[in-house]
C-alpha cells in the first residue's frame, strides 16, 4: 500500500472535523488518537487535541469508569481549540458509546465495534437494551463494523494467538478512520515499524490490522465516500506537533542553553507533571541533571540548593505538590535566588481529579505563602506556548534573582498542536553576570562582599557562587540587614526589606509589554479577559460573536504578577468585562480588587476546558444583561 492507493470512491472536502476515539483504558485509544493527530499534522492541517483519560491505570474492563478518550480537531484553517462537540465518534465498546454519546453533535457519525456489543459488555455499561437495535441512535449516522473479528481475520494468518490478535483492533480503527479522512498512510506504516521495532510480530500484526481497516473502508459497501480536510494555510516554516509538557521541557533546555547554566530539575512524580521529568531525563547531554527526590519538599529543596550552586534550578509539580513547596518558596523569596516552580494544574482540592484540567491554583500561586512573599507568576496559553513561557520564566528568575511560578494545566500538558519552530538565534540572551569582586568597603577600609547590595535598576541582589574567592557569605531565612545581609531583627530594617522585595517584583512591570487588545479595539461592548489555557476557546468565541455582528474584544494575560502596565487602563476602557476561568472566579476577584472594575466571571470546574460555544453563549448573555 502506498500514497498512490487507488481510490474507487469519491472524496468530499470538509473544512474541519472533530473526531473522538473512545474505548477501554487498555484499548490503546491515546496511541490511536496521537497517531491520527501526527499524520494529520504531517498532512498540513491545523489541529488541537484533548486527551481525556481516567486516573486509574486499568479500571475494570468494559466499565464506564475505564473509558479513555482522545479528541482531535483537524482543520484547513487556523484553529485554537480541540472542538466543541465531536462530529465523529469511534466507540470501541458499549461503555465508550454510552459515556461519550451525549458529547457528540446531533447527526454525528458514530462508528462502533459491534463485536464488543455482547450482553456482558452491554450490562457492564449499564444498557438494558442494545442501543444499536433499540432506536436510541436514530439521530446519528451509525456505522456498525465488527472490528474485533475483522482484525483477528487479518492478523491470525500471521501466526498471532487469538488473544493477542484482538489487541491490534485499535490499529484497525486507525486504518479505517485514516481511509475515511484520506490521511497519508506511508508514514504511519513506517512509524509502526519504528515504534514496535523490538517486537516484530506486534509490528506485523498492527500493520496488518491497519491495512485491513483501510481496505475495509475502501471496499465495504457501508461507506459511499471518503472525506478530505485540506492542509491549512499556516505561516511558512518548519512545523512539528508538540504537547505542552514536551514544549515546556524543551523551553527549559533552551533557557539553560541561552543562560549557559546547567539545568537541574528536582522533582517528585505527580500527574500531570511527570512527563517533564521523563522528557528532561532523556537529554542529559544538554548538561541536564534530573533528580527524583524523596518528596515534593526535597524536590524544590534540591533545586534551590542547585540554584545556590549556580545551576538553573527547576521543580515541577501539580496542585498538592505545590502546597508542599510553599515553605521552601518562602525561603527562596528571602534568599533571592533564581528558581523556577512549574505547576501543571489539575482538578482539586486534594487528590481531586488528577488527570483532568483546572485553573484553580492561581490564588495559591499569587498568595499562597507565609509572610509577605511576592513573586512573579506567569501562565502558558497553548501547548506550544509552554516553550516560550519557560524561557520567560527563566529570564525573570535570573534577571531579578527570584523564584518564579509558571502555571500550566492538564489540558495544555497533554494536548498538542502544530508548532512553527522558532529561529534559535531569535531566543533571548539570558547570560548571568555573577559577582566576582567585593562590592563594599568596611569601616576599617577592607574590601568585603555584601550579598544584599542591590542593583539600583532591577533591585536584584548580586549572585556570588560558592567557589568564588573572597566573597564568602552566609544567607538564610532569618531577616537580613539591608545591604550586608547579616542577621537583623531591627523593626525598621524588616519593613524596608519587605518593601524592597515587593518593589523588586512589582518593578518587573516596567519592562513588560502592554497587553494587546484583539477584536473591536475601539468599539467593543465587552472585553473578554483570559489567562492560561482558556485562550483558545476565548479566541474562538470572540470570533463567533463578532461574526454575528456583535462588538467584542479580548486580551490574554501571560504575566499574572505583576500585570502588564496598561492593564488597568484597558479594563476601564470597555463597558463590560468578562473573565472565563476554570475555577470559581479567581482572576476575576484579583482584577476587581486591584482595578475596581466590575468584572464578571464565567466559571467551569468539570475537569474539561471551555468549549468555544460555551463562551460564545456567555458573551452573548453578558451583552444582553442576562449574566448578573
Amino acid at each position: 500500500m502506498s500514497e498512490q492507493v487507488q481510490r474507487t470512491k469519491s472524496v468530499r472536502d470538509l473544512d474541519r472535523v472533530v473526531i473522538r476515539f473512545a474505548g477501554d483504558s487498555g484499548d490503546g485509544m491515546q496511541l490511536t488518537g496521537d497517531r491520527f493527530t501526527t499524520s494529520s499534522a504531517l498532512y498540513g492541517n491545523d489541529l488541537a487535541t484533548l486527551p481525556d483519560f481516567p486516573a486509574e491505570i486499568r479500571a475494570p474492563a468494559g466499565t464506564l469508569a475505564g473509558v479513555s478518550a482522545f479528541q482531535v480537531h483537524i482543520s484547513d484553517h487556523d484553529i485554537t481549540t480541540p472542538g466543541d462537540a465531536p462530529t465523529v465518534l469511534v466507540a470501541m465498546n458499549p461503555a465508550a458509546l454510552r459515556s461519550q454519546i451525549d458529547r457528540v453533535e446531533p447527526g454525528a457519525t458514530v462508528i462502533v465495534n459491534t463485536d464488543a456489543f455482547d450482553e456482558r459488555n452491554l450490562a457492564k455499561a449499564g444498557y438494558t437494551s442494545n442501543p444499536l437495535h433499540d432506536g436510541s441512535l436514530d439521530g446519528y449516522t451509525v456505522y456498525e463494523v465488527p472490528m474485533t473479528s475483522l482484525t483477528k481475520g487479518a492478523v491470525e494468518p500471521l501466526g498471532v494467538k487469538p488473544r493477542d490478535a484482538e489487541r491490534s483492533k485499535n490499529f484497525f480503527a486507525l486504518g479505517l478512520v485514516s481511509w475515511m479522512y484520506t490521511r497519508p498512510v506511508d508514514r504511519t506504516l513506517e512509524w509502526i515499524e519504528r515504534r514496535f521495532a523490538g517486537k516484530p510480530q506486534v509490528a506485523a500484526a498492527n500493520t496488518a490490522a491497519f491495512k485491513a481497516g483501510h481496505a475495509f473502508g475502501e471496499t465495504a459497501e457501508l461507506f459511499d465516500h471518503a472525506y478530505d480536510v485540506k492542509p491549512a494555510a499556516l505561516p511558512k516554516g518548519t512545523y512539528t506537533n508538540i504537547s505542552g509538557n514536551t514544549a515546556l521541557a524543551w523551553g527549559l533546555i533552551a533557557a539553560s542553553q541561552m543562560s549557559n547554566l546547567p539545568l537541574f530539575l528536582g522533582s517528585y512524580p505527580i500527574t500531570p507533571a511527570s512527563d517533564i521529568l521523563h522528557e528532561l531525563s532523556k537529554h542529559k547531554n544538554f548538561d541536564v541533571r534530573t533528580f527524583q527526590a524523596e518528596d515534593e519538599i526535597a524536590g524544590i529543596g534540591a533545586a534551590l540548593g542547585a540554584a545556590y550552586g549556580g545551576h538553573l534550578g527547576v521543580t515541577t509539580t501539580s496542585g498538592p505538590g505545590m502546597a508542599l513547596k510553599a515553605e521552601t518558596l518562602g525561603l527562596a523569596v528571602s534568599l533571592e535566588l533564581p528558581l523556577l516552580v512549574i505547576d501543571i494544574q489539575r482538578g482539586g482540592p486534594s487528590t481531586g481529579l488528577p488527570t483532568k484540567t483546572e485553573q484553580a491554583d492561581l490564588l495559591m500561586a499569587l498568595h499562597g505563602r507565609h509572610g509577605e512573599a511576592p513573586l512573579p507568576v506567569i501562565a502558558a496559553k497553548s501547548p506550544s506556548h509552554c516553550f516560550e513561557v519557560a524561557i520567560e520564566a527563566a529570564r525573570l528568575a535570573l534577571k531579578y534573582r527570584t523564584p518564579v511560578i509558571l502555571l500550566s494545566d492538564g489540558y495544555l500538558a497533554n494536548g498538542s498542536e502544530p508548532w512553527r519552530l522558532p529561529d534559535i538565534d531569535s531566543l533571548p540572551d539570558l547570560t548571568v553576570d555573577f559577582a566576582t569582586e567585593p562590592n563594599h568597603v568596611d569601616d576599617e577600609g577592607n574590601a568585603s562582599f555584601w550579598p544584599y547590595r542591590r542593583d539600583p535598576e532591577t533591585l536584584a541582589r548580586p549572585w556570588a557562587l560558592p567557589g568564588t574567592p573572597g566573597l564568602m557569605h552566609r544567607i538564610g531565612g532569618i531577616e537580613k540587614a539591608d545591604g550586608s545581609g547579616n542577621i537583623s531583627y531591627d523593626p525598621v530594617n524588616h519593613e524596608r526589606m519587605v518593601e524592597l522585595r515587593a518593589a523588586k517584583v512589582a518593578g518587573i512591570a516596567k519592562e513588560l509589554p502592554d497587553v494587546e487588545v484583539h477584536g473591536d479595539v475601539d468599539s467593543a461592548d465587552v472585553l473578554v479577559v483570559g489567562w492560561g489555557s482558556t485562550w483558545g476557546a476565548i479566541d474562538g468565541a470572540v470570533a463567533r460573536v463578532r461574526a454575528a455582528g456583535h462588538k467584542a474584544a479580548a486580551v490574554h494575560l501571560v504575566h499574572l504578577n505583576p500585570f502588564p502596565p496598561n492593564l488597568g487602563e484597558v479594563l476601564k476602557r470597555y463597558p463590560k468585562v468578562l473573565v472565563p476561568e476554570l475555577n470559581l472566579g479567581q482572576l476575576t476577584s484579583v482584577l476587581r480588587a486591584e482595578f475596581l472594575v466590575d468584572a464578571k466571571a464565567v466559571t467551569k470546574v468539570r475537569g474539561l476546558p471551555f468549549t468555544a460555544s460555551e463562551l460564545e453563549q456567555a458573551i452573548l448573555d453578558h451583552l444582553s444583561g442576562v449574566l448578573s
Binding site: P231, Q257, P262, A303, G305, P466, I487
Partner: protein, 345 residues
C-alpha cells in the same frame, strides 16, 4: 566553559583557625556544648587542605542551625529539617565543593527525618553533623525524638510517651556508608571523628552528644564526664578488640543468642572479644553495637561504627551526564526541536 566549573587555582594556602571564623558574634547560651563543637570544627578546617571558598555549611532550624553564620565559608541557613535535601541539590550541582550539613536531633530526626534517611541511602557526598542534645532548645524545652521515654518537660508533666530514636541505628538502617559518634567533651575525639567523616566519600553521619545546659543539662554526664569516661565510653577502633574500662578490663563479645554484650575480659579471655571492623559489608554487627547501650547511662560505644565504600551518588549522577555528552555530543538545540516528525509549510 560552564560558569559553574571550579573557579579556583592551586595550591591551597595555609590557614589558621581564625581564618575560618566569621566576623559574626556567636550567640549560643553561655556554657552550651555547641561552642566546643564549633571550636573543634574551626581547628580542624586548616588541617583538611581545603579552601574556605570551596566549603559550604548548610543548616536547617534550631540552635545548631546557627552554625553556618560563624564559619567564614559559604553558608545557607535554611528551613526546618530540609538541609539534607538542599545540600543534596548543591552537592549534585557542584561536586567540586565540600558540603557540610549541621543539624540537631529535632531538625534531623523529626521534621527532617525523611530527608535524612534518603540522603544517607543515596550516599551523596555531604558530611552531616548531628548535634544530639535530646531536647528542643530553641523552642524552649519540649522533648525531642531522641529524648528518653518518660521525659518530663513543660508539656509532659507525667513523662513523655514516645519511644526515642537511636540515631546510629537509624543511620545504619538507612544504608549509610559512614556512621560515627563523638561527644562535645572531647575535642581531640571530635576532630578525629570529623576528619574521618570528611575523608569518606559519600553521605556521612556523625552523631555528637551535645550538652544543652539550659534545658537538658547533664544529659550525657553519666558517660562523658572525665571521671566516668573510662568506664562508660566504649571506643571503637578499627582492627582492634573492643575493650574499655580501667586497664581494658571490660570488653564486648558477639553472643550468637544475645547479640553484642559487655563482659569482663578476665572471664572470657582476650581472644573471645569482638574485633571491630568498620568495613563489614553487612551493617548487622554495627547495628548490634549501636544497641549496646539503651541510653547515655550505660557503657556507650563512640567512634566509627561503619565506613564502607559504595558508589557516591553525585559521581553517578554527573557520570551519566558526562557519558551522555561523550556519546551524543553536547546538546544541539536546533536538532532537539526537530527530533520529532516535522513538516514544511
Amino acid at each position: 566553559m560552564s560558569a559553574t566549573e571550579t573557579l579556583v587555582p592551586d595550591p591551597v594556602p595555609a590557614t589558621t583557625r581564625k581564618d575560618w571564623a566569621s566576623d559574626q558574634e556567636v550567640r549560643w547560651c553561655p556554657g552550651c556544648g555547641d561552642y566546643s563543637i564549633l571550636a573543634a570544627v574551626q581547628l580542624l578546617m586548616p588541617e583538611l587542605g581545603i579552601r574556605r571558598e570551596d566549603t559550604v555549611f548548610v543548616s536547617g532550624i534550631g540552635c545548631a542551625a546557627r552554625f553556618p553564620y560563624y564559619m567564614n565559608t559559604y553558608g545557607m541557613h535554611t528551613i526546618h529539617g530540609r538541609a539534607p535535601a538542599i545540600a543534596t541539590g548543591l552537592a549534585l550541582a557542584r561536586p567540586d565543593l565540600h558540603v557540610f550539613v549541621v543539624s540537631g536531633d529535632g531538625d534531623a530526626l523529626s521534621i527532617g527525618g525523611n530527608h535524612l534517611i534518603h540522603a544517607l541511602r543515596r550516599n551523596v557526598n555531604i558530611t552531616i553533623l548531628l548535634f544530639n542534645n535530646q531536647i528542643y532548645g530553641l523552642t524552649k524545652g519540649q522533648y525531642s525524638p531522641t529524648s528518653e521515654l518518660g521525659k518530663v518537660t513543660k508539656w509532659t508533666p507525667f513523662g513523655s510517651l514516645d519511644q526515642p530514636f537511636n540515631p546510629i541505628s537509624v543511620a545504619l538502617g538507612a544504608e549509610a556508608t559512614f556512621v560515627a559518634r563523638t561527644h562535645d567533651m572531647d575535642r581531640a575525639h571530635m576532630m578525629e571523628t570529623f576528619r574521618r567523616a570528611f575523608e569518606h566519600k559519600g553521605s556521612k553521619l556523625v552523631e555528637i552528644y551535645q550538652n544543652c545546659n539550659v534545658f537538658n543539662d547533664g544529659a550525657f554526664e553519666a558517660i562523658t564526664s572525665k571521671r566516668v569516661r573510662e568506664d562508660m565510653l566504649v571506643p571503637l577502633r578499627h582492627g582492634e578488640p573492643i575493650r574499655f574500662g580501667a586497664d581494658g578490663s571490660k570488653g564486648v563479645v558477639l553472643d550468637p543468642q544475645r547479640g553484642a554484650r559487655i563482659v569482663d575480659v578476665a572471664d572470657v579471655g582476650e581472644d573471645a572479644l569482638l574485633v571491630h571492623d568498620e568495613t563489614r559489608p553487612d551493617p548487622g554487627v554495627a547495628f548490634m553495637l549501636s544497641r549496646l547501650a539503651t541510653g547515655p547511662h550505660e557503657p556507650t560505644p563512640i567512634g566509627v561504627f561503619r565506613a564502607v565504600e559504595r558508589q557516591e551518588y553525585g559521581e553517578a549522577v554527573n557520570g551519566q551526564v558526562a557519558a551522555a555528552r561523550e556519546e551524543r555530543g553536547e546538546g544541539d538545540l536546533a536538532a532537539l526541536l526537530r527530533s520529532g516528525a516535522t513538516w514544511e509549510v
